[in-house]
Symmetry: C2
Subunit: 252 residues, 2 copies
Protein backbone atom coordinates (compact mmCIF):
# COMPACT_ATOMS: atom_id res chain seq x y z
CA UNK A 1 0.00 0.00 0.00
CA UNK A 2 1.35 3.37 -0.98
CA UNK A 3 0.83 6.43 1.18
CA UNK A 4 1.44 10.03 0.24
CA UNK A 5 0.78 13.30 1.96
CA UNK A 6 -1.70 15.59 0.25
CA UNK A 7 -2.55 19.19 0.94
CA UNK A 8 -6.25 19.99 0.46
CA UNK A 9 -7.42 23.60 0.15
CA UNK A 10 -11.08 23.93 1.10
CA UNK A 11 -13.86 26.50 1.07
CA UNK A 12 -17.08 26.05 3.02
CA UNK A 13 -20.32 27.69 4.03
CA UNK A 14 -20.29 26.77 7.72
CA UNK A 15 -24.01 27.40 8.34
CA UNK A 16 -25.02 23.76 8.30
CA UNK A 17 -21.84 22.35 9.89
CA UNK A 18 -21.23 21.84 13.62
CA UNK A 19 -17.79 23.38 13.07
CA UNK A 20 -14.53 21.96 11.74
CA UNK A 21 -13.76 19.35 14.33
CA UNK A 22 -15.03 15.78 14.14
CA UNK A 23 -17.81 14.93 16.57
CA UNK A 24 -19.64 11.58 16.46
CA UNK A 25 -23.16 11.91 15.05
CA UNK A 26 -22.64 15.54 13.98
CA UNK A 27 -22.15 17.00 10.52
CA UNK A 28 -18.68 18.52 10.77
CA UNK A 29 -16.27 19.67 8.05
CA UNK A 30 -13.51 17.32 9.18
CA UNK A 31 -15.90 14.38 9.49
CA UNK A 32 -17.44 14.99 6.05
CA UNK A 33 -14.03 15.30 4.40
CA UNK A 34 -12.67 12.20 6.16
CA UNK A 35 -15.68 10.16 5.07
CA UNK A 36 -15.14 11.22 1.44
CA UNK A 37 -11.42 10.33 1.57
CA UNK A 38 -12.20 6.98 3.22
CA UNK A 39 -14.58 6.22 0.38
CA UNK A 40 -11.89 6.95 -2.21
CA UNK A 41 -9.25 4.95 -0.34
CA UNK A 42 -11.46 1.89 -0.10
CA UNK A 43 -12.32 2.19 3.56
CA UNK A 44 -8.82 3.11 4.80
CA UNK A 45 -9.34 5.71 7.49
CA UNK A 46 -6.62 8.23 8.17
CA UNK A 47 -7.24 11.54 9.84
CA UNK A 48 -7.41 14.92 8.20
CA UNK A 49 -5.58 17.67 10.07
CA UNK A 50 -6.79 21.24 9.59
CA UNK A 51 -4.80 24.47 9.87
CA UNK A 52 -7.37 25.73 12.37
CA UNK A 53 -10.62 24.64 13.95
CA UNK A 54 -13.39 26.93 12.83
CA UNK A 55 -16.42 27.28 15.11
CA UNK A 56 -19.89 25.91 14.40
CA UNK A 57 -21.51 28.29 11.88
CA UNK A 58 -18.24 30.03 10.92
CA UNK A 59 -17.12 29.93 7.28
CA UNK A 60 -13.90 29.49 5.33
CA UNK A 61 -12.81 30.81 1.97
CA UNK A 62 -9.45 29.13 2.43
CA UNK A 63 -8.98 26.36 4.93
CA UNK A 64 -5.98 24.06 4.50
CA UNK A 65 -5.78 20.42 5.58
CA UNK A 66 -3.18 17.71 5.29
CA UNK A 67 -3.89 14.01 4.96
CA UNK A 68 -2.02 10.78 4.35
CA UNK A 69 -3.85 9.39 1.36
CA UNK A 70 -3.71 5.66 0.70
CA UNK A 71 -5.82 5.54 -2.47
CA UNK A 72 -4.50 5.17 -6.01
CA UNK A 73 -5.87 8.40 -7.52
CA UNK A 74 -3.41 10.91 -8.94
CA UNK A 75 -3.79 14.52 -7.77
CA UNK A 76 -6.11 15.63 -10.59
CA UNK A 77 -8.26 12.52 -10.17
CA UNK A 78 -8.35 12.94 -6.38
CA UNK A 79 -9.42 16.58 -6.71
CA UNK A 80 -12.08 15.69 -9.28
CA UNK A 81 -13.43 12.76 -7.25
CA UNK A 82 -13.62 14.77 -4.03
CA UNK A 83 -15.55 17.49 -5.87
CA UNK A 84 -17.96 14.83 -7.10
CA UNK A 85 -18.55 13.37 -3.63
CA UNK A 86 -18.61 16.47 -1.42
CA UNK A 87 -21.76 18.61 -0.99
CA UNK A 88 -22.26 22.14 -2.43
CA UNK A 89 -21.41 23.77 0.92
CA UNK A 90 -17.99 22.05 1.22
CA UNK A 91 -15.75 22.42 -1.82
CA UNK A 92 -12.24 21.37 -2.68
CA UNK A 93 -10.46 24.28 -4.34
CA UNK A 94 -7.27 22.26 -4.83
CA UNK A 95 -5.73 18.93 -3.82
CA UNK A 96 -2.06 18.17 -4.40
CA UNK A 97 0.80 15.96 -3.22
CA UNK A 98 3.21 17.74 -0.89
CA UNK A 99 6.36 16.98 1.08
CA UNK A 100 5.62 14.25 3.68
CA UNK A 101 6.69 16.72 6.38
CA UNK A 102 3.98 19.26 5.49
CA UNK A 103 1.85 20.09 8.53
CA UNK A 104 -1.14 22.34 7.76
CA UNK A 105 -1.36 23.69 11.28
CA UNK A 106 2.27 23.96 12.41
CA UNK A 107 3.63 25.26 9.10
CA UNK A 108 1.09 28.09 8.78
CA UNK A 109 2.86 31.46 9.02
CA UNK A 110 -0.18 33.76 8.96
CA UNK A 111 -3.95 33.53 8.97
CA UNK A 112 -6.50 36.15 8.05
CA UNK A 113 -10.03 36.26 9.43
CA UNK A 114 -12.83 38.56 8.32
CA UNK A 115 -15.89 39.48 10.35
CA UNK A 116 -18.80 40.95 8.35
CA UNK A 117 -21.51 43.33 9.54
CA UNK A 118 -24.67 44.07 7.58
CA UNK A 119 -25.60 47.69 8.37
CA UNK A 120 -28.85 47.89 6.37
CA UNK A 121 -31.87 48.87 8.48
CA UNK A 122 -33.96 45.99 7.10
CA UNK A 123 -31.35 43.20 7.10
CA UNK A 124 -30.18 41.91 3.71
CA UNK A 125 -31.62 38.39 3.22
CA UNK A 126 -28.58 37.44 1.11
CA UNK A 127 -26.24 38.25 4.00
CA UNK A 128 -28.27 36.60 6.76
CA UNK A 129 -26.01 33.52 6.79
CA UNK A 130 -22.74 35.45 6.38
CA UNK A 131 -22.89 38.71 8.28
CA UNK A 132 -24.10 39.93 11.66
CA UNK A 133 -27.04 42.29 11.24
CA UNK A 134 -25.91 45.45 12.98
CA UNK A 135 -28.06 48.48 12.10
CA UNK A 136 -27.08 50.23 15.37
CA UNK A 137 -24.96 53.34 15.64
CA UNK A 138 -21.35 52.80 14.68
CA UNK A 139 -18.72 55.38 15.58
CA UNK A 140 -15.94 54.80 13.04
CA UNK A 141 -13.37 57.06 14.67
CA UNK A 142 -13.67 55.32 18.03
CA UNK A 143 -13.46 51.91 16.36
CA UNK A 144 -10.34 52.91 14.40
CA UNK A 145 -8.77 54.13 17.63
CA UNK A 146 -9.54 50.75 19.27
CA UNK A 147 -8.28 48.76 16.26
CA UNK A 148 -4.93 50.62 16.33
CA UNK A 149 -4.35 49.26 19.85
CA UNK A 150 -4.53 45.61 18.76
CA UNK A 151 -1.48 44.87 16.58
CA UNK A 152 1.59 43.53 18.34
CA UNK A 153 2.99 40.44 19.97
CA UNK A 154 1.17 39.95 23.27
CA UNK A 155 -0.78 37.69 25.58
CA UNK A 156 -4.39 37.41 24.35
CA UNK A 157 -5.89 35.73 27.45
CA UNK A 158 -8.30 38.64 27.92
CA UNK A 159 -9.88 37.81 24.54
CA UNK A 160 -9.70 34.01 24.82
CA UNK A 161 -12.51 31.61 25.72
CA UNK A 162 -12.18 29.87 29.08
CA UNK A 163 -12.51 26.57 27.18
CA UNK A 164 -9.30 27.19 25.21
CA UNK A 165 -6.84 24.37 25.97
CA UNK A 166 -3.80 26.19 24.59
CA UNK A 167 -1.43 27.26 27.37
CA UNK A 168 0.77 29.64 25.37
CA UNK A 169 -1.49 32.64 24.76
CA UNK A 170 1.16 34.77 23.03
CA UNK A 171 0.24 35.64 19.44
CA UNK A 172 1.33 38.35 17.06
CA UNK A 173 -1.50 40.31 15.45
CA UNK A 174 -0.03 42.00 12.38
CA UNK A 175 -3.06 43.78 11.02
CA UNK A 176 -6.44 44.88 12.41
CA UNK A 177 -8.50 46.82 9.90
CA UNK A 178 -11.87 48.35 9.26
CA UNK A 179 -13.12 47.98 5.68
CA UNK A 180 -16.30 49.60 4.39
CA UNK A 181 -17.98 48.34 1.28
CA UNK A 182 -21.46 49.56 0.34
CA UNK A 183 -23.82 48.60 3.16
CA UNK A 184 -21.27 46.31 4.83
CA UNK A 185 -18.56 46.90 7.40
CA UNK A 186 -15.78 44.31 7.71
CA UNK A 187 -13.20 43.79 10.42
CA UNK A 188 -10.09 42.04 9.13
CA UNK A 189 -7.36 40.52 11.29
CA UNK A 190 -4.07 38.91 10.31
CA UNK A 191 -1.96 37.10 12.91
CA UNK A 192 0.53 34.26 13.20
CA UNK A 193 -2.25 32.38 14.94
CA UNK A 194 -5.53 32.82 16.81
CA UNK A 195 -6.94 31.38 20.06
CA UNK A 196 -10.42 30.01 20.76
CA UNK A 197 -13.07 32.73 20.14
CA UNK A 198 -10.32 35.35 19.93
CA UNK A 199 -11.68 37.13 16.84
CA UNK A 200 -15.29 36.88 18.03
CA UNK A 201 -14.36 38.31 21.45
CA UNK A 202 -12.38 41.15 19.88
CA UNK A 203 -15.35 41.92 17.59
CA UNK A 204 -17.82 41.79 20.50
CA UNK A 205 -15.62 44.35 22.27
CA UNK A 206 -15.29 46.55 19.17
CA UNK A 207 -19.08 46.62 18.84
CA UNK A 208 -19.33 48.01 22.38
CA UNK A 209 -16.77 50.65 21.41
CA UNK A 210 -18.78 51.42 18.26
CA UNK A 211 -21.94 51.88 20.34
CA UNK A 212 -20.13 54.18 22.79
CA UNK A 213 -20.41 51.83 25.77
CA UNK A 214 -16.64 51.11 25.98
CA UNK A 215 -13.80 53.60 25.55
CA UNK A 216 -11.18 52.62 22.94
CA UNK A 217 -8.60 52.43 25.78
CA UNK A 218 -10.57 49.48 27.16
CA UNK A 219 -8.61 47.36 24.65
CA UNK A 220 -5.35 48.12 26.50
CA UNK A 221 -6.91 47.27 29.86
CA UNK A 222 -8.21 43.91 28.61
CA UNK A 223 -4.84 43.03 27.12
CA UNK A 224 -2.88 44.12 30.20
CA UNK A 225 -5.18 42.58 32.80
CA UNK A 226 -5.77 39.40 30.74
CA UNK A 227 -9.24 39.54 32.29
CA UNK A 228 -11.84 38.05 29.93
CA UNK A 229 -14.68 39.56 31.99
CA UNK A 230 -13.66 43.07 30.86
CA UNK A 231 -14.18 42.26 27.16
CA UNK A 232 -17.47 42.37 25.26
CA UNK A 233 -19.69 39.40 24.53
CA UNK A 234 -18.56 36.81 21.99
CA UNK A 235 -19.93 37.95 18.62
CA UNK A 236 -22.06 35.31 16.79
CA UNK A 237 -20.11 32.80 14.68
CA UNK A 238 -21.97 33.33 11.41
CA UNK A 239 -20.27 36.68 10.69
CA UNK A 240 -16.83 35.05 10.82
CA UNK A 241 -14.85 33.71 7.86
CA UNK A 242 -11.34 32.28 7.65
CA UNK A 243 -10.09 34.07 4.53
CA UNK A 244 -6.52 32.99 3.95
CA UNK A 245 -3.64 30.95 5.32
CA UNK A 246 -0.03 31.68 4.32
CA UNK A 247 2.79 29.13 4.27
CA UNK A 248 6.55 29.65 3.86
CA UNK A 249 7.39 30.55 0.28
CA UNK A 250 3.94 32.02 -0.41
CA UNK A 251 3.37 35.73 -1.00
CA UNK A 252 2.22 37.99 1.77
CA UNK B 1 -62.47 50.18 10.45
CA UNK B 2 -60.03 52.14 8.38
CA UNK B 3 -58.40 50.67 5.33
CA UNK B 4 -55.49 52.07 3.40
CA UNK B 5 -53.42 50.78 0.52
CA UNK B 6 -49.77 50.14 1.30
CA UNK B 7 -46.89 49.38 -1.03
CA UNK B 8 -44.39 46.89 0.41
CA UNK B 9 -40.93 46.52 -1.14
CA UNK B 10 -39.43 43.13 -0.32
CA UNK B 11 -36.16 41.24 -0.70
CA UNK B 12 -35.92 37.49 -0.22
CA UNK B 13 -33.63 34.52 -0.45
CA UNK B 14 -35.98 32.12 -2.24
CA UNK B 15 -34.09 28.93 -1.38
CA UNK B 16 -36.44 27.82 1.38
CA UNK B 17 -39.66 29.15 -0.16
CA UNK B 18 -42.00 27.24 -2.48
CA UNK B 19 -42.12 30.37 -4.64
CA UNK B 20 -44.11 33.59 -4.36
CA UNK B 21 -47.64 32.31 -4.70
CA UNK B 22 -49.72 31.13 -1.76
CA UNK B 23 -50.20 27.37 -1.56
CA UNK B 24 -51.90 25.71 1.42
CA UNK B 25 -49.42 23.93 3.68
CA UNK B 26 -46.37 25.32 1.86
CA UNK B 27 -43.93 28.02 2.94
CA UNK B 28 -44.44 30.69 0.29
CA UNK B 29 -43.45 34.36 0.22
CA UNK B 30 -47.03 35.56 -0.26
CA UNK B 31 -48.35 33.25 2.47
CA UNK B 32 -45.64 34.27 4.96
CA UNK B 33 -46.23 37.98 4.32
CA UNK B 34 -50.02 37.64 4.51
CA UNK B 35 -49.75 35.81 7.85
CA UNK B 36 -47.56 38.62 9.25
CA UNK B 37 -49.99 41.32 8.06
CA UNK B 38 -52.94 39.38 9.48
CA UNK B 39 -51.21 39.26 12.83
CA UNK B 40 -50.72 43.04 12.81
CA UNK B 41 -54.30 43.72 11.70
CA UNK B 42 -55.75 41.57 14.47
CA UNK B 43 -56.75 38.62 12.31
CA UNK B 44 -58.17 40.63 9.40
CA UNK B 45 -57.14 38.78 6.27
CA UNK B 46 -56.73 40.67 3.05
CA UNK B 47 -54.64 39.46 0.18
CA UNK B 48 -51.22 40.66 -0.83
CA UNK B 49 -50.74 41.15 -4.55
CA UNK B 50 -47.22 40.85 -5.95
CA UNK B 51 -45.77 42.50 -9.04
CA UNK B 52 -44.71 39.09 -10.29
CA UNK B 53 -44.81 35.47 -9.18
CA UNK B 54 -41.28 34.25 -8.67
CA UNK B 55 -40.64 30.51 -9.01
CA UNK B 56 -39.82 28.16 -6.14
CA UNK B 57 -36.13 28.71 -5.31
CA UNK B 58 -35.83 32.00 -7.24
CA UNK B 59 -34.81 35.14 -5.35
CA UNK B 60 -35.74 38.81 -5.27
CA UNK B 61 -33.72 41.89 -4.43
CA UNK B 62 -36.77 44.02 -5.18
CA UNK B 63 -40.22 42.56 -5.25
CA UNK B 64 -43.17 44.94 -4.85
CA UNK B 65 -46.53 44.08 -3.33
CA UNK B 66 -49.69 46.00 -2.60
CA UNK B 67 -52.08 45.36 0.25
CA UNK B 68 -55.16 46.89 1.85
CA UNK B 69 -54.07 47.21 5.44
CA UNK B 70 -56.73 47.40 8.15
CA UNK B 71 -54.43 47.75 11.17
CA UNK B 72 -53.76 50.96 13.07
CA UNK B 73 -49.98 51.13 12.63
CA UNK B 74 -48.53 54.15 10.84
CA UNK B 75 -46.08 53.47 8.01
CA UNK B 76 -42.92 53.56 10.15
CA UNK B 77 -44.51 51.34 12.77
CA UNK B 78 -45.84 48.93 10.14
CA UNK B 79 -42.40 48.65 8.54
CA UNK B 80 -40.74 48.13 11.92
CA UNK B 81 -43.29 45.54 13.06
CA UNK B 82 -43.07 43.56 9.82
CA UNK B 83 -39.27 43.47 10.15
CA UNK B 84 -39.68 42.14 13.66
CA UNK B 85 -42.09 39.37 12.64
CA UNK B 86 -40.65 38.21 9.31
CA UNK B 87 -37.77 35.71 9.10
CA UNK B 88 -34.17 36.57 8.03
CA UNK B 89 -34.79 35.26 4.49
CA UNK B 90 -37.80 37.55 3.85
CA UNK B 91 -37.16 41.21 4.56
CA UNK B 92 -39.21 44.39 4.19
CA UNK B 93 -37.04 47.07 2.63
CA UNK B 94 -39.82 49.64 2.81
CA UNK B 95 -43.54 49.89 3.57
CA UNK B 96 -45.55 53.00 2.80
CA UNK B 97 -49.06 54.27 2.16
CA UNK B 98 -49.85 54.83 -1.52
CA UNK B 99 -52.72 55.95 -3.70
CA UNK B 100 -55.64 53.50 -3.30
CA UNK B 101 -55.43 52.87 -7.06
CA UNK B 102 -51.83 51.57 -6.88
CA UNK B 103 -51.58 48.09 -8.41
CA UNK B 104 -48.14 46.46 -7.98
CA UNK B 105 -48.56 44.22 -11.01
CA UNK B 106 -50.49 46.32 -13.51
CA UNK B 107 -48.64 49.57 -12.80
CA UNK B 108 -45.16 48.08 -13.26
CA UNK B 109 -43.46 49.62 -16.31
CA UNK B 110 -40.28 47.53 -16.36
CA UNK B 111 -38.76 44.57 -14.55
CA UNK B 112 -35.16 43.42 -14.48
CA UNK B 113 -34.10 39.84 -13.86
CA UNK B 114 -30.55 38.59 -13.37
CA UNK B 115 -29.35 35.03 -13.87
CA UNK B 116 -26.02 34.19 -12.22
CA UNK B 117 -23.47 31.57 -13.29
CA UNK B 118 -20.59 30.44 -11.09
CA UNK B 119 -17.73 29.56 -13.46
CA UNK B 120 -15.21 28.33 -10.86
CA UNK B 121 -14.02 24.75 -11.48
CA UNK B 122 -14.68 23.74 -7.86
CA UNK B 123 -18.01 25.51 -7.27
CA UNK B 124 -18.03 28.42 -4.82
CA UNK B 125 -19.88 27.28 -1.65
CA UNK B 126 -21.06 30.87 -1.06
CA UNK B 127 -22.78 30.94 -4.45
CA UNK B 128 -24.36 27.48 -4.26
CA UNK B 129 -27.77 28.93 -3.34
CA UNK B 130 -27.60 31.89 -5.75
CA UNK B 131 -25.84 30.86 -8.95
CA UNK B 132 -25.86 27.93 -11.35
CA UNK B 133 -22.52 26.13 -11.24
CA UNK B 134 -21.36 26.21 -14.85
CA UNK B 135 -17.66 25.39 -15.21
CA UNK B 136 -18.19 24.26 -18.85
CA UNK B 137 -16.87 26.01 -21.91
CA UNK B 138 -18.51 29.35 -22.57
CA UNK B 139 -18.12 31.04 -25.93
CA UNK B 140 -18.71 34.72 -25.18
CA UNK B 141 -18.85 35.87 -28.80
CA UNK B 142 -21.53 33.38 -29.72
CA UNK B 143 -23.53 34.28 -26.60
CA UNK B 144 -23.30 38.01 -27.37
CA UNK B 145 -24.51 37.29 -30.90
CA UNK B 146 -27.48 35.36 -29.48
CA UNK B 147 -28.28 38.05 -26.88
CA UNK B 148 -28.39 40.74 -29.55
CA UNK B 149 -31.26 38.86 -31.21
CA UNK B 150 -33.52 39.06 -28.13
CA UNK B 151 -34.52 42.73 -27.64
CA UNK B 152 -37.73 43.86 -29.28
CA UNK B 153 -41.47 43.64 -29.02
CA UNK B 154 -42.49 40.10 -29.99
CA UNK B 155 -44.36 36.94 -29.18
CA UNK B 156 -42.38 34.89 -26.59
CA UNK B 157 -44.38 31.65 -26.85
CA UNK B 158 -41.25 29.76 -27.90
CA UNK B 159 -39.67 30.58 -24.54
CA UNK B 160 -42.80 30.20 -22.39
CA UNK B 161 -43.79 27.24 -20.20
CA UNK B 162 -46.79 25.22 -21.39
CA UNK B 163 -48.33 25.85 -17.97
CA UNK B 164 -48.45 29.64 -18.54
CA UNK B 165 -52.07 30.80 -18.35
CA UNK B 166 -51.45 34.16 -19.96
CA UNK B 167 -52.92 34.36 -23.46
CA UNK B 168 -51.19 37.53 -24.65
CA UNK B 169 -47.58 36.44 -25.16
CA UNK B 170 -46.37 39.77 -26.56
CA UNK B 171 -43.67 41.39 -24.41
CA UNK B 172 -41.03 44.00 -25.10
CA UNK B 173 -37.52 43.00 -24.05
CA UNK B 174 -35.52 46.22 -23.81
CA UNK B 175 -32.16 44.92 -22.71
CA UNK B 176 -30.40 41.54 -22.77
CA UNK B 177 -26.84 41.71 -21.49
CA UNK B 178 -23.84 39.64 -20.53
CA UNK B 179 -21.98 40.91 -17.47
CA UNK B 180 -18.71 39.40 -16.24
CA UNK B 181 -17.54 39.97 -12.73
CA UNK B 182 -14.61 37.97 -11.35
CA UNK B 183 -15.53 34.28 -11.49
CA UNK B 184 -19.19 34.98 -12.25
CA UNK B 185 -21.11 35.52 -15.46
CA UNK B 186 -24.50 37.23 -15.27
CA UNK B 187 -27.29 37.47 -17.81
CA UNK B 188 -29.48 40.51 -17.27
CA UNK B 189 -32.85 41.13 -18.91
CA UNK B 190 -35.15 44.12 -18.72
CA UNK B 191 -38.66 43.96 -20.18
CA UNK B 192 -42.10 45.44 -19.70
CA UNK B 193 -43.08 42.01 -18.39
CA UNK B 194 -42.07 38.35 -18.41
CA UNK B 195 -43.98 35.11 -18.96
CA UNK B 196 -43.78 31.85 -16.98
CA UNK B 197 -40.21 30.45 -17.11
CA UNK B 198 -39.33 32.92 -19.86
CA UNK B 199 -35.96 33.98 -18.40
CA UNK B 200 -35.04 30.43 -17.39
CA UNK B 201 -35.88 29.13 -20.88
CA UNK B 202 -33.90 31.89 -22.56
CA UNK B 203 -30.94 31.12 -20.26
CA UNK B 204 -31.19 27.38 -20.94
CA UNK B 205 -31.01 28.18 -24.65
CA UNK B 206 -28.08 30.60 -24.21
CA UNK B 207 -26.16 27.90 -22.35
CA UNK B 208 -26.55 25.59 -25.38
CA UNK B 209 -25.25 28.42 -27.56
CA UNK B 210 -22.33 28.93 -25.13
CA UNK B 211 -21.45 25.24 -25.34
CA UNK B 212 -21.60 25.32 -29.12
CA UNK B 213 -24.60 23.00 -29.45
CA UNK B 214 -26.96 25.68 -30.80
CA UNK B 215 -26.14 28.37 -33.36
CA UNK B 216 -26.93 31.96 -32.26
CA UNK B 217 -29.51 32.13 -35.08
CA UNK B 218 -31.51 29.47 -33.24
CA UNK B 219 -32.92 32.37 -31.17
CA UNK B 220 -34.63 33.79 -34.28
CA UNK B 221 -36.07 30.39 -35.20
CA UNK B 222 -37.51 29.86 -31.71
CA UNK B 223 -39.08 33.33 -31.70
CA UNK B 224 -40.50 33.01 -35.22
CA UNK B 225 -41.78 29.45 -34.89
CA UNK B 226 -43.06 30.01 -31.31
CA UNK B 227 -42.08 26.35 -30.85
CA UNK B 228 -40.98 25.70 -27.25
CA UNK B 229 -39.44 22.36 -28.25
CA UNK B 230 -36.68 24.17 -30.18
CA UNK B 231 -35.44 26.02 -27.10
CA UNK B 232 -33.02 24.68 -24.49
CA UNK B 233 -33.99 23.18 -21.17
CA UNK B 234 -35.38 25.39 -18.41
CA UNK B 235 -32.38 26.57 -16.37
CA UNK B 236 -32.63 25.85 -12.61
CA UNK B 237 -34.52 28.45 -10.56
CA UNK B 238 -31.82 29.12 -7.95
CA UNK B 239 -29.68 31.18 -10.38
CA UNK B 240 -32.56 33.61 -10.96
CA UNK B 241 -33.18 36.87 -9.12
CA UNK B 242 -35.79 39.59 -9.65
CA UNK B 243 -33.59 42.68 -9.33
CA UNK B 244 -35.79 45.69 -9.89
CA UNK B 245 -39.28 46.86 -10.74
CA UNK B 246 -39.90 50.34 -12.15
CA UNK B 247 -43.14 52.33 -11.79
CA UNK B 248 -44.26 55.52 -13.52
CA UNK B 249 -42.34 58.53 -12.21
CA UNK B 250 -39.35 56.43 -11.14
CA UNK B 251 -35.94 56.70 -12.83
CA UNK B 252 -34.87 54.27 -15.52
Amino acid sequence: MSVRRVRIDLAYDGTDFAGWQFQPGQRTVQGTLEAALRRLAGGEGRRVRGAGRTDAGAHARQQVADHDFTGRHGDAELQHSLRGILPPDLRVVRARTVDPAFDARRDARAKTYRYRLDTTPHGDPFLARYALHHPDSFDRDRVRDALARLPGRRDWSGFTAASCEIVDRIREVRRAQLIETGTEIHFEFTADGFLTHMVRNVVGTLLEVARGRFEPARIDRILESRDRSLAGRTAPAHGLCLMEIRYPGEDG
